[in-house]
Symmetry: D2
Subunit: 454 residues, 4 copies
Amino acid sequence: MSDQKLKNEKIFRDPVHDVIRVQDQVILDLIDTSEFQRLRRIKQLGITAEVFHGAEHSRFAHSLGVYEIARQFAEHLERYYATVEVGDGRWDPKERLLLLVAALLHDLGHGPYSHTFEHIFGTDHEAYTQAIILSETTEINQVLRNVSADFPEKVAAVIGKTYPNKQVVQLISSQIDADRMDYLLRDAYYSGATYGRFDLSRLIQMMRPTKNGIAFDHRSMNAVEDYVISRYQMYVQVYFHPVSRALEVLLSALLARVQYLYELSQHDSMRSIDFIPVALRPLFAGDRDVSYYLKLDDAVFIAAINTWRFAEDSILADLAVRFLDRHQLKSIVLNETVGDLLPKLREIIAMAGFSPEYYTAENDSFDLSYDIYRPNTKKPQTQIELVKADGSQIELSDASPLVRSMSGRYYGDARFFFPREMLEEQAIDDVMAPIYADFQRFVHNDELIRPIED
Amino acid sequence: MSDQKLKNEKIFRDPVHDVIRVQDQVILDLIDTSEFQRLRRIKQLGITAEVFHGAEHSRFAHSLGVYEIARQFAEHLERYYATVEVGDGRWDPKERLLLLVAALLHDLGHGPYSHTFEHIFGTDHEAYTQAIILSETTEINQVLRNVSADFPEKVAAVIGKTYPNKQVVQLISSQIDADRMDYLLRDAYYSGATYGRFDLSRLIQMMRPTKNGIAFDHRSMNAVEDYVISRYQMYVQVYFHPVSRALEVLLSALLARVQYLYELSQHDSMRSIDFIPVALRPLFAGDRDVSYYLKLDDAVFIAAINTWRFAEDSILADLAVRFLDRHQLKSIVLNETVGDLLPKLREIIAMAGFSPEYYTAENDSFDLSYDIYRPNTKKPQTQIELVKADGSQIELSDASPLVRSMSGRYYGDARFFFPREMLEEQAIDDVMAPIYADFQRFVHNDELIRPIED
Amino acid sequence: MSDQKLKNEKIFRDPVHDVIRVQDQVILDLIDTSEFQRLRRIKQLGITAEVFHGAEHSRFAHSLGVYEIARQFAEHLERYYATVEVGDGRWDPKERLLLLVAALLHDLGHGPYSHTFEHIFGTDHEAYTQAIILSETTEINQVLRNVSADFPEKVAAVIGKTYPNKQVVQLISSQIDADRMDYLLRDAYYSGATYGRFDLSRLIQMMRPTKNGIAFDHRSMNAVEDYVISRYQMYVQVYFHPVSRALEVLLSALLARVQYLYELSQHDSMRSIDFIPVALRPLFAGDRDVSYYLKLDDAVFIAAINTWRFAEDSILADLAVRFLDRHQLKSIVLNETVGDLLPKLREIIAMAGFSPEYYTAENDSFDLSYDIYRPNTKKPQTQIELVKADGSQIELSDASPLVRSMSGRYYGDARFFFPREMLEEQAIDDVMAPIYADFQRFVHNDELIRPIED
Amino acid sequence: MSDQKLKNEKIFRDPVHDVIRVQDQVILDLIDTSEFQRLRRIKQLGITAEVFHGAEHSRFAHSLGVYEIARQFAEHLERYYATVEVGDGRWDPKERLLLLVAALLHDLGHGPYSHTFEHIFGTDHEAYTQAIILSETTEINQVLRNVSADFPEKVAAVIGKTYPNKQVVQLISSQIDADRMDYLLRDAYYSGATYGRFDLSRLIQMMRPTKNGIAFDHRSMNAVEDYVISRYQMYVQVYFHPVSRALEVLLSALLARVQYLYELSQHDSMRSIDFIPVALRPLFAGDRDVSYYLKLDDAVFIAAINTWRFAEDSILADLAVRFLDRHQLKSIVLNETVGDLLPKLREIIAMAGFSPEYYTAENDSFDLSYDIYRPNTKKPQTQIELVKADGSQIELSDASPLVRSMSGRYYGDARFFFPREMLEEQAIDDVMAPIYADFQRFVHNDELIRPIED
């Protein structure tokens, strides 16, 4: 058992929290592991950094931030709500280190461009986080085992939400947790967004342990509301930004094309796989092992895509150029009444020389699996609870008319993506001009419409 | 000639300047080129981002910021100091676009980890910037030629400081220019530093064109002083940070080792160069061509170093692990009276199993070629001039006792770098223990000292 | 006609807008008038500064801020939307100075603690603003007449919303105008609120002149939504803060008591009015003249209340102490089902020795006449309009489900205020104890309830 | 003895520190006293708020800030440096409450426009602070006595720097203490200055108790240097601003005139003192009693000066208008070689109709008694000490060449103040024109010069 305190705290200068305070040797040792340092090489916002040029920060910085917020949670809970007797629904100070470690490590399993990556390669970052913690081959596991033999399992249980103490679980993973709190503040700071801020200090001060988890004093209702609105604003304005989704569509198409070419090469000995860097071949061959996964970062993909600019396959080369030089696809808003027009649009696009498989996509921001506050979905989220003066609880959307009006609503849109060339005004002598003109009849006010003559 | 204004300005959200305002089609076209987009993939601070984890921003963001400051310069000068007649020493509004373009493109030739790169491979980013602007093969050159046939030459002349209008040159490149102004503000914002800020608005308001360049109204003396101090503080606290220099020493050693192994392989057919990714081989073979250079970015190096973790050559593999996992070297302060002890130290370090060639270095922050304000050096800098009410000028350090006391001083230190193992307390049964103990006799209060018994 | 430009702009350092840029001699002259300087002595937030101790800024600072935002409006509109021919619905650059002056002067008629003051003394700050502008005795009027003979009338017409050019009127006074924009940003900055910010730069960039006023490009819908939400948050969390309303109730009671004592003295020669400072006697005597009104500021009231601590009248003395030492009233939330209990509560309070007339109040934040966005009320507000790509317009709440859900709702509460003593736990031997205990039966979870036994 | 902890902390939203955390009942009770609430009515920067319009904050806000910084000091020292045995030079946690109370109350004795006030009326705010703490008539004293009978004396001893534990004294009052730290940060925030910030978190982390007081780890040398420079910048750019000093000169003249008129009235029964508000008469009559002093605030002065606009005495009336409407005096820089010219200047000014006694002044910013870091003066300041790794100490200016170059220097200037009319360009038919022209021969580049023909 090794949970030694440092003689003096170590502070990391951080623009969001001013400082990150490290007070335990274990935290310092975890930060120094190879697996945690790898997070420096993975951008927090992935492709979105191409749209908000300031937001180039890494998952490393975010993970330190989540740790710091969790540390402040623990300090508050221990000072004012420490357990007096077992089962009293107060905070057990012995859970402090577990909380801090789980907070620090919660994103350990993220890969490069996670959303696209998981979609194409069928992986799950949370499962990887648990695997890295539990695998005896990792430096992380070694540090954790030094705390106690069962510490890796406990940390993995918190990540997996199966840990018995629901307070610990919810502080890391719920509708209002250290993870979301840090990324909202951090992404807002780095992108330069004016929204995304909320009153962290007041939320912590008003945080109350309960027998079932974590709640907030009802006098902080407006501060909680403010947090929910900030989340909404970051989603609609930053995370769901159409240009960012357009680049994501491009990256998906590009990786799908590489996978296709790889499969071809497996059945056709004339085709070489030299165009895939050695470091990435196991990925396309299906290697999903933790030790291989840990070798992947943003750089290996960017370096590969950079070489694909000059690939023999013209579709791959074109997609690589478009992706790197930010010639993203354009998009228009879809609504259900015009969905029948899409095959026709794809046909026109094919006539203009673009493979619809790689150059068009439907994408709606509803199913990006981000969790706007809506308690009644199939995958129910932990509710946010408020505690009244007499100890009774009330669910947030019951207390706040504003949150109620937001709950269960779909704030997002469905879009159809296609090559930007389709919207260009063309010189009269361009052979493509009539094709583009035909396409443009379907577009009005940035929406897909049914042309009058149809 | 194409210097078309946009119908409405395009704004990029920027956390430092709030917004970057683009008002000209040419600027938009330049941003969209492949060569400019490449700057997204090169970190502004290189290795320093490892020490200040928040400061992961790119040269792309910085370049937009320099452009924005230059745009504000031009707006101020045109509004209040537009030329009335030729040669009156006022600002010629026809220079606006040239100023803006030069500001945007001034860092175009930077490569990955520029300082280390230039030191090892003998390159010069300013020469590359000019080459990219002048080479007919680049998209940049194509956009510039559309403005006018001689526009690329004019932009290159501003970058090279040979352009006849010294006002334009000094606004981009002098002791107090758009470049320095942006990087101080930006690096401070992203690192979370409390210094580095200065009063940009007042400096612009107080900026005066003169016959020889740019000066400042003497009533802004304190604001100029403030800027000079901010620069000083960023240098001593951020740019010269010992840990950052320690990582730079590691990267230099690592690249030197690869170059050495490459040379060996050229004379020994038994040695393979397979460990060097295809994309990097021309570099070690001496290719310094612009078109090749433009393929390089941070990612290709990071991806390569990641594979070198598993290199056969044990020194290379070890250096790669130390660099990526941030096991940087340690350092102590040197002063001239103890320089004779270094051979002895290197000898002890070699006994501990580390090659002094790759694991030790002397490095002083004086000769990192950063330009603390000192007008009387071999490579004289443009002076900062103040203009009095009657039009007479006075040089800044003549007006400010504080700046005078800083001028010509060396604020920096010389350090000796070595493996961190040398300072560790060792278990009694460690065979290295006596060697480490011997080494530690030379260290006191983080300085190299002459041991008493010597 | 005198609308001379300054040779160089004058800048005022401002923490909200960085700088306030003055470019016209008229603006400088207006700032230097006695009537405008008076605004330095009137706090922007009045009593609210007692609750948010950081928010002690004056109407002077706010007025400069409104001017600066209007200046940015004009710069944008002139650069990108200047009139080409009469009646084209674009912006007429000749309106610039009028816009700037009206922005600067819009709050000129505010008195100390405006809301309470107007309620008690029956005055109207907007009418005073117009009177100060039009009265030939003011320095303001003199500066304005120097511009042109009809300039004062034009400025007053903009303030009174009767000026024919609706663009000018709406930029100063509408649901989304320079006034609201500055106070949201400024009050948030000074109070330290995390809400209240919005994307000013984007709103300006997306601002479009129309034939009927001002609209916003529909692509800025989220930014407009963000502004509406920020307003909502500032209202519920800052402007309607229960403690602030409690102090307002105290101040109202105090001034009503002075008025009552003044009236008594008019009919009873035995009663002296010496307790009212000479400077305030005309006020209680009914003097509402502009020249007298301009002598009033926060200081004359604070100085008077300070002397009333020692007033012979015990109610007045007690109210003065409570107000100055911040012993505000307590409050509980009312809902319509328990309104019948108030007479009973007042009876108990009277038994405890407090005059219900001066020590209790009902106050709801709905009718504080602040304007939450609700287009369908008796006093209809200008709607916020969005402009689509094809030029058609759509009203904000038609475009935004979130704003729709907020429109017309009452976000506020009704409260009953009473002396804090009523809620104190009392020692058993306190003769008041049974009275307080009786009162406390009506309070649960900070709400007025019907006691079980009733 | 009553040093009860609150069940949950109470937080005050603060824009500088985010939140002020109150954890003790005593602190809450002190804030609620009449004497402490009075600080809301006294501006922190006095007249300087007229120059930096954003900086209208009160001593109340500053006092809370000093308390908060002291609280953070105590938390750090207790966590990492708590005393192990008596006399070990570490921090005694039992001193915590004393430190916090002294920090909160250190400015209690400040009066309105303190600097001018003390100069004219011969008072001393520090003596008043101690008197308020010790006087049994104050609410403050009553709260303190509830802690323990000798607690008021202990707090007064800390304020008076006679308390035996030098750590406590220096944390409140030394070259680098909670007071200075808060006012630099706060005044910078409110004025919008870009300087004035420093790295508070790092200074706290690096703070070390010693046997003689407080020192800083030498690794924080740059952070300490940064703090010293920030102080310097705030002094030269904000606190010593020439316009602010010009207004101070006016206020001094005005109060001196009232005192003169009061004295006259004492010897001449024909002269009335009705023009002096009742509340201020004791002041001019010489009342310096604590209980009277506590009735004074900014408002009583502002209200009085407002009535003096209409005073019969024309000099008083004119000075009042100039002060309130900000028609401050102008000034020029003096150097020792031209001091002999001042009698001549005063003579010209008298000819122009201005009494030199009230309309001119010499004022140098050196003797405003602000304490730029200079250890070798008559009134020696506590030095700032750095602690090396081996425990030895080094004085800051020995370690920092930059601070050494600033030590003992006079950064300020001497100025001669006079009516702005003297510098105006005059119409040819103005009878004063030749007098003004004569005066202007003595002014060049904002300095007093010896005219050529003299």
